[in-house]
Amino acid sequence: MYQINAPGVVSDTLDGEAIIINLETGMYYSLEGSAAVIWKALCEGASEGDIALAFQDSFDQATEIISTFTQELVREQLLVPISSDGPTNHSWKPSHPSLPAGFPVINRFADMHDLLLLDPIHMVGAEGWPHRAEEPHTQHS
């Protein structure tokens, strides 16, 4: 089982599509159709097995497809594994009886990534603050 990699990852679902933002990496994502349904299920504590069962009529190799998609979400640091001893949402069922067709795909956006390359405490000029080693004002400490 997995959970969303909070607090660094935020997500919401709108009109059946999910948007996920990873503030640690600067990447953001949109998921549509089956991808959004699987994402929501994983965030609600459903196991890959339960999800694969729900999609068995949609995909020939549902178990492999769900597993591959889930591992991709883990690699993107959007999901983290949780102990199998933890609470399991065995009651998870898709909210709509007819699941969206099509393989789950992650749409990635990297245009905000550069914003995170700024270093908060080392981009100030020598005359600026903070500079612990060159503190001109330690008399106030």
Binding site: D12, L14, M112, D119, P120, I121, G128, P130
Partner: protein, 362 residues
């Protein structure tokens, strides 16, 4: 039973350190203010903020963008927030380096807060320190040297403070322009290069009400947008399209590869609307064609245009902030503005759209 039972270990220490540091900062501000200070009462959204600036220099950075929301005359009512602002070098009243470990490193800044979020500290990468004591309705904004600040501290001052102060409320500073007509407005949302600034400046030229071109404050429950800053930003290569604005560009913001800054209020007094009821969200897209038109777009695409740029530029956002944005998107129909090169026609397109959508947000 130990203190840890109550979850006090660690959190009390952090809170005490933050509180003591803010107390020390207030003492130093009082010393700095003895060299001369000025007080300005401004309207931020529905709140009254009092800016108390020590020394001569901070006013040139922090005040121009708020000139349109300055409350006239002597204001005697208690402010919702008092903000003490000064510079270390100019007043010879520097702050000591904080003695706590910074956590939650995010884009642009590092920050720390007490467990109850009543106390907050943030250092932006440009050296601007922001301290908030929510209980005392007090904030400190300090930098050792104003010269380390970025032009966006002039166009969008006190951004960190505004984000932090409004975090527990439905209000949110969002990365969008806003224009309108007869009390109804639209959000112009998009990343850099989408044509947002051009559409906003064109709206200003051709007589629409102006709320902001880059950042505005929005009540995400009521979908009312408030003007935060009277500033506008323009790429220097774009000045040829707006030659009338060239004379109003602030000279010290003509920085290579950055947008220059100008202030709308002195240029076009009275054209800034304090607030508008939003009726739609419009995402511009530059087409290269002459004419402009507007088409529907999905809420998800509107949220993709709004949320990442707002949240990453904030530097310190949470799931709650994200949900505020998605709540706002749910309230507003979303449209794509296919922005053409004929600016008069583009604004006429927006004017007709506003006329047709002059209804309260659904």
């Amino acid at each position: 039973m130990t203190a840890d039972t109550f979850g006090l270990i660690g959190t009390r220490t952090d809170a005490d350190r933050l509180r003591n540091y803010i107390d020390r900062a207030v003492e130093l501000f009082d010393v700095a203010a003895q060299q001369g200070s000025e007080r300005h009462d401004i309207r931020i959204g529905t709140q009254h903020w009092r800016l108390h600036l020590a020394g001569q220099q901070p006013g040139t950075i922090f005040l121009p963008a708020f000139s349109h929301v300055e409350l006239p005359g002597e204001v005697h009512s208690q402010p919702d927030l008092t903000v003490c602002i000064w510079e270390g070098i100019g007043t010879n009243c520097p702050l000591p380096f904080p003695d706590w470990d910074w956590e939650n490193r995010r884009a642009h800044s590092v920050h720390q807060s007490s467990s109850d979020h009543a106390l907050y500290a943030d250092i932006h990468f440009n050296g601007l320190l922001t301290l908030v004591d929510r209980t005392r309705r007090l904030a400190i904004v300090w930098t050792q040297d104003l010269r380390t600040l970025h032009p966006y501290d002039i166009s969008a001052p006190l951004a960190t403070l505004i984000d932090q102060w409004f975090a527990p409320t439905p209000f949110m500073r969002i990365h969008s322009g806003a224009v309108g007509l007869n009390g109804t407005g639209i959000l112009l949302t998009g990343k850099s290069g989408s044509g947002k600034s051009t559409a906003t400046l064109a709206s200003l030229r051709y007589g629409l009400d102006y709320v902001g071109d880059d950042y505005v404050l929005v009540d995400t429950e009521t979908a009312v947008v408030y003007s935060l800053y009277s500033s506008a930003k323009i790429a220097l290569e774009n000045v040829r399209r707006f030659p009338e604005l060239g004379a109003f560009i602030r000279e010290d913001t003509r920085v290579p590869d950055e947008k220059a800054i100008l202030f709308v209020e002195p240029m076009m007094p009275g054209q800034t609307a304090a607030s508008l009821q939003l009726s739609a969200m419009v995402v511009p897209r530059v087409t290269g064609q002459t004419s402009s038109f507007i088409s529907e777009m999905t809420s998800m695409n509107a949220l993709l245009a709004l949320a990442p740029s707002t949240l990453f530029q904030s530097g310190n956002f949470t799931q709650a902030d994200f949900l505020k944005l998605s709540r706002l998107v749910r309230k507003l129909p979303a449209f794509q503005l296919h922005a053409g090169t004929d600016l008069a026609a583009l604004v006429e397109c927006l004017r007709q759209f506003l006329d047709a959508n002059m209804i309260a947000a659904r």
